[in-house]
Symmetry: C2
Subunit: 415 residues, 2 copies
């Protein structure tokens, strides 16, 4: 069964915002065996929206639309839907109550006429109550095609998808089965992996596809399969995945659907009752942010210091000033000292340290832009490595983050 997504908003087409909604919606639909055939981003423009709805309806049975539902004047999605359905707008009491409730709770004031106007919906639509905002979701039908309209604000859309849209799609449509599984690997390039598994890949059955998704030091290997029997499909892909893992045992981190490298690290540390601290210089908090974004990180993560100015490596972490002078601030020696000191200061079992030149200027170092030293202190000692990560700041930081996680996981697995 096919679906299409239409995202509405000039801000997408002028590049002012990145459309993250489509990826979320696609993922949720995939889980229940609905395949997204196409994603289309169109203007806040009546004719363009009507055209996109028509085209999507020619290809899919379910059309999900986000955006264009705000209280302000640039949003015309709802009126256009009403026209498309040949319907008229009516005030919906549930939406009205919800608007009053939200204003009372969060803004301690009465909603304005502009806010109350959001309670108007096409008369034939089923309202999907938006508990996190004043714009309602709507479920509509025309010629046996289902149209769903949701606000573009990501967390409002996510709530509606999970609680209102997915359950309705499940009961409304018969769906075939799609199954994906993705192996996360770190430390080897796409083409090297491809050569390593070439004969296995050629021998894959026709209904199973392999995709390579490379990104700055990691490559994701995704198997996708479609078939009539969910259980058989899953067993088949799981079996193939085990083969793929075995062939790549030296670089495999886990299945993406179950973990990420930082989650894997967190899970291992929690399981062992061990802890982690970070001393991030050139990565400037990027590793810390990655770890703390997940709930439950406080169970193993102690804290970080980002000693951006060179002398803070000494004053806060206690890295000897003469070490920095002798070896240079960007050196394996300083990285190792940062890790060991961090381990002590934070009283953690493991400590990860980065020092490098993210560029574009050379800072206090004398080395080439892109030079990064990473060290890991573990209960058994300290290791370090020096890298050259190219020229672009953003990429240097991202590669250093990926490499740091790769080294940390390897070190934890060794101990």
């Amino acid at each position: 069964m096919l679906a299409e997504i239409i995202t509405i908003g000039d801000e997408i087409l002028i590049g002012q915002i990145i459309d993250t909604n489509s990826a979320f919606i696609s993922k949720e639909l995939n889980k229940i065996g609905v395949q997204v055939f196409q994603i289309t981003s169109v203007q806040d423009d009546r004719e363009h929206i009507l055209q996109a709805l028509d085209e999507a309806a020619g290809r899919a049975q379910l059309v999900l639309v986000t955006g264009g539902l705000g209280p302000t004047k640039d949003d015309i999605t709802k009126l256009t839907f009403c026209e498309y359905l040949g319907d008229k707008m009516v005030e919906n009491q549930d939406v009205l109550d919800n608007i009053h409730h939200l204003f009372q709770k969060y803004f301690k004031r009465e909603p304005s006429p502009t806010n109350l106007h959001q309670a108007m919906v096409p008369s034939s639509s089923t309202v999907l109550q938006n508990l996190h905002g004043t714009a309602p979701g709507m479920w509509m039908e025309k010629n046996n095609i289902v149209y769903v309209s949701m606000p573009g604000v990501p967390y409002e859309m996510k709530h509606l998808m999970r609680n209102e849209v997915i359950p309705r799609v499940v009961s409304r449509f018969n769906r075939p089965h799609i199954y994906h599984k993705t192996l996360l690997t770190y430390g080897m390039g796409e083409s090297s992996i491809a050569e390593r598994i070439e004969s296995w890949e050629i021998a894959l059955p026709a209904h199973v596809k392999l995709a390579y998704l490379p990104n700055l030091g990691k490559v994701r290997l995704r198997l996708s399969a479609k078939g009539p029997d969910q259980r058989a499909l899953q067993e088949e892909v799981d079996g193939l995945m085990e083969e793929l893992w075995k062939m790549n045992d030296d670089i495999a981190v886990g299945y993406e659907e179950e973990t990420s490298i930082d989650r894997r690290i967190g899970a291992l540390l929690k399981e062992r009752g061990q802890t982690l601290s970070l001393a991030e210089s050139c990565t400037g908090g990027a590793i810390t942010e990655e770890i703390t974004q997940h709930a439950g990180s406080s169970a193993f993560y102690r804290g970080s210091v980002v000693p951006y100015a060179t002398e803070l490596k000494t004053s806060i972490l206690g890295v000897p000033a003469q070490l920095i002078e002798k070896y240079n601030v960007v050196s394996e020696e300083v990285a190792r000292s940062m890790a060991v000191q961090s381990q002590q200061v934070f009283k953690s079992d493991y400590a990860l340290a980065t020092t490098g030149i993210a560029g574009p200027s050379k800072g206090d170092g004398t080395d080439e832009v892109g030079t990064v030293c990473i060290a890991i202190a573990s209960p058994k000692g300290v290791i370090s490595e020096r890298f050259l990560f190219g020229q672009l700041r953003e990429r240097i930081i991202r590669k250093a983050v990926n490499k740091a996680f790769e080294m940390l996981l390897a070190e934890i697995l060794k101990n």
Copy 2:
């Protein structure tokens, strides 16, 4: 003049990656007066790609395609283009040389046959040399429509857009003028702003559009205008923007095209020769990461500590343990102490501190999930405020980051 973007890749349609390329391409095209009419994401599938190319060609004069150019077997874009053009594939010597050069420089080995195969391109295409990867960009024409094919890897695509595609588009097409300007505001909701400026908005000329782009504590107000005379257009919008700024002087931070709130803060501090440090508990490095992502932050940013475990607030920052016991770790008192201590430890003029409960569990605090206290120590003293930011971890952190920047900027402007 209209363009369309087609992004190719099953990984987009199953939601495995977020399409960030389209936003970048749209922004670059907008700067030179090319309007993106539609963005379409399609499968790695010959027929679907052919259909999308045909549809886009019916609406636009320029069709930019990303993705589907990797060395592995899931990528079929190039062959499909060749078929679409009625062309044949030939080996391109420049691409071949580039592949050899990249392998020598970065991998210290010979490219494989799979890698060398990437030198095949449709014979009528103009190769756009990709200095950062082995997949070449291609510029093609059919029936007076220009097609550009670029790799999907963001930094490779960005390089090609800036250095190869944009200059060619500029010399190939006559373009009308589009002008956008966006005012960043913090601290007031979309509908309150809309009511405040209602009569002004209604009186806007027809060729000028106003859009509201709200996001967790900030609202961006974008004016867009189209017209024949670039200079007149710019003057008109700049004038309107000044009016809009005046009406919103209490919440305006700057023009997004020129700044962001963290850049504005950085610029002010640099100008004054002042410095900043951070003590981030509940925001877990998110503010630090925001600041260090920009080149040049080391000129004003000293460093951060993320004392995630409660006792580290005492051992590393020197927050008195009895203060934490008396007031609770999530309190304005503790936030203020963290800020003042951070100011001293890092020897910075300003220090920003956060402590709160990002959830989903309550951690060491006893307060409601979503409670966040933010404090700022300045050369003149310390201020603090307590907030309730809802239920969702990701949103709580993001709102705290936005609010912290808002408070910090206000404090810097006061001094």
